[in-house]
Amino acid sequence: MRYHPHTPEDERRALETIGVGSIRELFDDLPAELRDPEVDLPPGMDEAALLDHVRRLAARNETRGPDFLGGGVRRHFIPSVTPHLALQSEFVTAYTPYQPEVSQGILQATFEYQTMMCELTGLDVSNASMYDGASAAAEAALLAVRHTRRERVIVSRGVHPETREVIATYLRPLGVRLDVAELSPLTTAEPNLGDDVAGVIVQQPNFLGYLEDMRRLTDAAHAAGALMVAVVDPLSLALLAPPGQYGADVAVGDGQTLGNPASFGGPAFGFMVVREELLRQFPGRIVGETTDVDGRRAFVLTLQAREQHIRRSKAKSNICTNHQLTALMATVNVGALGPEGLREVALGSVERAHALAARLEAAGYAPLTGARFFAEFVLPVALPAEELRSALARRGVHAGVPVPAEYGLGDAVVLAATERVSDDDMEALVAALDEVGAQRRPAVARG
């Protein structure tokens, strides 16, 4: 395959204009001993062969079957109109809107995205999106450190383990200490606050699926002079109290559940929304409204003096791109569903998850329902989680996000339900669990 248009005549004409005899000559500056290396790649393919090759790879994956996978990524209903609109070629093949006169499409869509995120989170200013929820949380930790000039951050164990790992990666080089507030056993207990804490980071719903007392934790953080960073599932905000309602300072999270396919974990996008007074410390691109010389309303990238291309080593972050296209997908999707549709997706997921927990109890299982949960919950099981997940997969059921040992719950999995789960799906899961002997026997042997 080739995508360059040049014919031998084109090549000849160009070389003549430049005044060299061959393309090879244009590379004379390269060190002679390193030129034209062996590159170990297979030869190119025509399009038909290429697609056959990729289809063979795709055939080695399996996605069909009842789906109970969660852990922050869920396969909700996405109407056809969403990708149809978001993936128009003008949006897909556009560059960053540095020339606003010819980029009003992207800029206005971003302004609408920013508005949507402020409404969902109840906070004042959103940026134009970031890479993912985990790195957004890490950037929020850095923001808290910059704003308070303190050097310790507390993160709840209820925050997704991968998110906590990413926060640690970002804080380590700057010497900021990261402490973990424990769960007892399913929600955050007392964080170890002090006047050296820059920020407290709590996830709602937490990784295990349970609802935290965000008001109590926010008040405690503020009493210690720390910022409250809420890591939230944006879809849940159709029903749950948003960060603005309980007084949090920063809301971050992953936008996948708002309308991007799971895509094996990426790309989706991260979001960050803050209270007004944190605006100047805020990383990432931001779109603002203004007027043109004729008085027309127009949109433009603004407050760029915070960013890397101007501030360089003193920028708020090194972040350069945003996740424009996937954020656009979410904006279109929320427009396609409308507030009622979004609420129905959230409500449907909560109802199905609670129905699943009840169905499992009826079948003799003991899902942890001692704390309120949203659309995911923990099921203790009788075999190691990864083994269980594989066994279920062999029976055509996708379920069993492992609960890591750090939670002290023994062998356990997180089960999720979306609005798409049917009663038959639930029966299939129960049957598969029974078949593999997943039910934990009681500790005392029956007499």
């Binding site: 100047r280 760029q304 003096a305 101007i310 501030r311 003193k314």
Partner: protein, 128 residues
Amino acid sequence: MSTPESLRYAATHEWARKDDDGTVVVGITDFAQDQLGDVVFVELPEVGRKVVKGDTLAVIESVKTASDIYAPVSGEVVAVNDALDAKPETINESPYEDGWLFAIAPSNEAEYDELLDAQGYAATLDEG
């Protein structure tokens, strides 16, 4: 470009004026505001902050750039020009008067005398 005789200057384009009570008031020169273009935001230090000559005390942002502003003398920040919050363009309109940035109670009297005078500063502009 105006360079008032009565003021002192740093090569980094700050001006300084010693008031009767000994406080040193600081701003940026006409040349600097012209280079920056329309000022959109000013980040000022906290009153009470202790500074060493050469510390970055403020940041002035225009649409396309951001400039660090350095303390020309050591001491303590005793006042900042809060009016710039609402009207940052004052720096462009009146760089030597209403557009002042902050005032320092100096800890080392000799440092003020070491600053450039108007001719000395004007000479750096010619070289630049």
